[in-house]
Each structure stands twice: as C-alpha cells, then as structure tokens.
Amino acid sequence: MSTASENFTSGYAAAEPQTGAVKLTMILSGAVFALMMVLGLAMRAAQSQWIGLDPDLFYQILTAHGAGMVGTAALSGAAIMWYFCGRYLVLGAAIFWAFLGLFLLGVALILGAIFIGGYGGAWTFLFPLPALSGGAWEASAAAAFMLGYTVIGVGFLLYYLELGRRIHARYGSLARALGWNLILGREDNDPPPPAIVAAAAVTIFNSIGIILGAAVLAASLVHLLVPGFEVDALLAKNLIYFFGHVFINASIYMAVTAVYEILPEYTGRPWTSNRVFAIAWNAVLIFVMAVYWHHLLQDVAMPPWMLVVGQLVSYFSGIPLIAVTAFSTFLYVRGSKMTWDLASALLVLSVAGWSVGSIPASIDGMISVNKVMHNTMWVPGHFHTYLLLGEVAMAFGFMAWLVRGRTIARMGGLDRAAFATYLAGAAGFVTVFLFSGAASIPRRWAVHYEEWLAHDRIGTLFSLLVVLGTLIIVLRFAARLRRSQG
C-alpha cells in the first residue's frame, strides 16, 4: 500500500508550496471547531437544566456557535481546496495570507460584537432583528457583527478572484475547467482534474453568494445608521438565505477536494474527471443557487413557483451527491486493498455523513412535511449530520493526512478510540435532534419545557462524546505537527 502512496505523493511534493500556511489554518480551524463544540455542549446542557445560562447569554452563545461553525467550516474548506489546487496552479501566497488576515480581523469584530457588545441576533441576522434588540444590544454591536461578516466576505472574494484568475490562465476558461469539453464530447488533451472542476464551480457560485450577501449587509448597515432607511423584509430574507445557504454548502464542496485527492493515494486508483462527473458538478453549480427557496417554504407571501422549485431542487440535488460522489466512493473503496488509518477512515466517513444527511434534508424540503418540521430540532438534525459527519470529518481527515508518516500504517489504538468516539457521539447526537424534531421541539429556544428534557439530556451526553473525540483528534494533530516540524 505504501508503494501506491509514494507514487502519488512524489509527483506532487514540489508543487505544494504553501503547506505552512495551510497547516496554520488547519490548526486554527481545529481549535475553533473544538471551542464551538464546547459552546454547543453548553447550550444542550442549559436546555437540559443541568447548568444555568441566562437567556441573554444563551442567545449570544447561539450566535457565536452558528457564525463560528459556518465560518470555520468555510475556512477549513478553503484551506483544503487551496492546498490541492496548488498541485495544478501557481497560486499567490500573499493572497492566502491576506485572506487569513481578513478572516481573523472579521472574527475579532464578531466576537467583540457578541461578547462585549452583547449581540445575540443569530448568525442569520434576519432583517430587521439586528436593529431591534429590545434593549439587549446597541446598534453599534450589530454594526460590528455585520462589519465582521463584510471583512470576511472581502477576504473570500480575494481568494476566489485569485483562484478564478489562475484557473482561467491555466485552463483557458472557467467553462473548460468546469468540464464542458467532457460534457460535449470534444477532444481535450488536458482535461481538468476533479479538484479543478470543483474549484471552478465553487469560485462561481460562492462569489455570487458573497456579493449578494454583501448587498444585504450594506443595506442592513445603512438601516442601523439611518433607521428611516427601510428594506423589504422578504427581499432581505431572500438575500440572506441565498448567501447563507450557498456559503455553507460551498464549505463542503471545497472540502470534498480532499476526498478526490487523498483517497487515490490509498486505493492506487486515480480519481479522474469524466462526463458524468462534469455533468454532476455543473448541476451542483445551478442547484446550489436555486435550492435556497426551501428555507422560505413557510413564507406564503413568496411566489408559489419559487417554493415549488425549492422543493424540487432539494430532492434533485441529492442525485449528483448520492449517485455520483457517494457511488464513486463505493467503487473506489471496494476491492482497493486500502489501509484504514485515521485519514482514510474519516474521509470515507465524511462522504457517508454528507450523503446520509441529505435524506432528512430532502424530506424536510417537501412543503407538506416542512409545515410541521420547519424550525424544529429536525433542522439542526439534518445539517449537523452533513456538517459534523461531512465537512468537519473531511477537515479532520485532511488534518490527519497532513501529518501522517511517510508510509501508511494501520490505525493505532488512540486513533481508533478517537474515531469511534467521534462517530458514536456524532451519530447519536444527530439522531436525538431528529427524534426531537419529530416530537415538535422548536429550535433556538433557550428554555425548554419539562416534556423535552429527556431529549436534551440524551443529546447532551452524546455531544460530550463529540467534544471528547474532537479533542483527541485535534490534540493528536497538534502533537504530530510539532513532531513533524521539530
């Protein structure tokens, strides 16, 4: 098995110039993931009535947890995609450092807004809630929160501009990088590898998402300064969910490049772009932008055709995921003689978690089901499945791979324990959320009724396991990083 690994890695060794910046980003991501999970645990424990949290503080933690998790998922996804695109493109290191610097500046503004300014308007900042706190926070705190988002958005736009520019220079056009030659059956002597197809698609849809997000952030900031400046609340909600949905999806679509690039080292079978793969990614490019309407199914003022499209795309976007990415993973793994170490196990798990999480999401995307599931615990149930067991597992798998030894060895006892703890904790944790959603427990409530406590307490115990598994994985990464650089 080690032979296959060496064959694949040796060719790339000279073409991975920014490993230091990526490793720094991943250790930051790991630390923030762990911290945000501790905040999640605190919220579940407060709902369980095992610890006391003032509702003010609970909703501040809710805001920090949501913004922190989404931001860190995107940060880690961006670092992973940058790293693997570096195998095919010459990317400017200064841009990555500017991106990381702007990200950290944004985080400082957001944390200040929440824990100094008391902002607790949720990461979704639904207009006009940031301006109407009922005395809980000042307009300046809401403005700092939104400025933090804006600064992070500027950093991401820089990142995508650089990536788009280099893809264009290397492959001639974004259309070719999206695999249109493969789709149209034209001859192409230099077809884009899967990581580049993904990078081209994400560059397009996330740039559009961030620009529309910036528009609603700017309008909300003006509203905070000049309260007479009104924005249509439904239009603002459309813009916020377009931005939010595209952004969080982009984090997984960036991180999946780790699966495309790393699994071949273990299986000895290169993951190549073909016609079905290219069609799937072009479908993703459209679907990921059209599906956000499923967040608005209970806004009956929306034109009905948009809600119908929301339902249809919710379901049909599962086809590229399950029939192409997940099915390809089955094929790559079967009969591969692959060695299971922490990296390969987490990466295969991540495709499984992502795919499995799409099932309750698609079902909730049906208008008739959404009527009794929307904004219940069902919703964190499905997105925690494809984030905790999907994007975060991809990030952790990439981290484990970054610090692996020269040859691939079987998982040691501690790695095995970390993997099992994380998997058991996460699977149990999300299942409790789904049961709670089916029991009609509303989400984002600081105080729970007695009838709901059993759900909360079982959920708290599972989230404790998730935190424990995460701590072992992140601390192992830090220790191995030190050793490999020492």
Partner: protein, 169 residues
C-alpha cells in the same frame, strides 16, 4: 405525520449507512465488476423517476391550503417582541379557520401546537406582509401558539393560548 416522516428518514439513512459499511468491509474483497457504471446509470434513473412521482404526488394539492372555503372563520393573530395577540379566544371545532398573521416588528413564526405539544401547522410572520393559512381543528381542547423563528432574547417566552370548543351540531 411526524412519526411517519421520522420512520422513512431513519430507514433510508440506515440503508445508505449500511451501503457504505458494506463497501468499507469489501475493501479487501474483489474489485467492482465491469457493470458498475451501468448500476450508476440505473441509480440516477431510479432516483429521477422516484423524485418525479413523489414531487407530483406531494404538490398535486397545494400544501399550504391558502384558499379558505367561504364559510371559514377569520382569526387575526399579530406578533411582536415578545407576545402573540389573538382576536378570537374560542374557536369552534370542525370549522375551517383562516388565520391572518402579522408582525409589528421583526420576523416571527406562528406555530400552532395541540395539548400534547405536537406541532399542527405553522406560517412565518413577515414585517410588512399579512400571511394566511387555513386549518380545521378536529378536537376540542387547549391549543398553544409558540414562536418558531428566532426573534431575540425572549423568543422562548413568546407563547399564547386559545381554546377549541365543540362545534354546533
């Protein structure tokens, strides 16, 4: 509806998890045969046909039931940070009720719960809009309105009640 949704979801999730588990266990077995790509095409078609059937079935009757019958009782519900105001506190069972929902400040979600704390229906309350849904209560009893959309520091306190009484025979 919720138990059925949960059951279907868990069965499908377990089936997909099992497929991954079996693929992982087969890592040291034989490699996929030449028919693997054909299976992928079959899966794409199967998912497409299933999606068309389920979509057509679930959307044939518009799920929001916006068109209230002529004899519907109109009930006005307004929300604000952090209260619900209902202009009718006794609603007859068996009569279609048209809820007109408004908000005075931020976005809220009006979720109607029965006495067992089961969510029956919901709609969002959007600033500047009146949102409408129709619902027919079958059983007399005490019902609650809970806020479903995060609306600030007393979101969880935004609860009100109304009674459904036996309708006239």
């Amino acid at each position: 509806m919720q138990p059925v949704v949960l059951l279907i979801s868990l069965v499908l999730m377990a089936a997909l998890s099992a497929a991954f588990w079996l693929a992982a266990r087969a890592a040291h077995g034989p490699a996929p045969g030449p028919g693997a790509n054909g299976k992928r095409t079959g899966l794409i078609w199967a998912m497409t046909i299933l999606g068309v059937l389920v979509s057509a079935g679930s959307l044939r009757q518009w799920p929001h039931a916006l068109a209230a019958p002529g004899d519907a009782l109109e009930v006005n519900v307004s929300g604000g940070q952090w209260w619900w105001d209902i202009d009718t506190t006794e609603i007859p069972a068996g009569t279609p009720v048209l809820f007109n929902v408004t908000t005075e400040d931020v976005t809220h979600g009006m979720g109607i719960y029965d006495s067992n704390l089961t969510l029956l229906t919901q709609v969002q309350a959007i600033p500047g809009y009146t949102t409408r849904i129709t619902y027919t209560f079958e059983e007399p009893g005490s019902y609650r309105i809970l806020c479903m959309e995060f609306c600030g520091v007393a979101h969880h306190d935004m609860v009100n009640e109304f009674e459904v009484v036996a309708g006239e025979e």
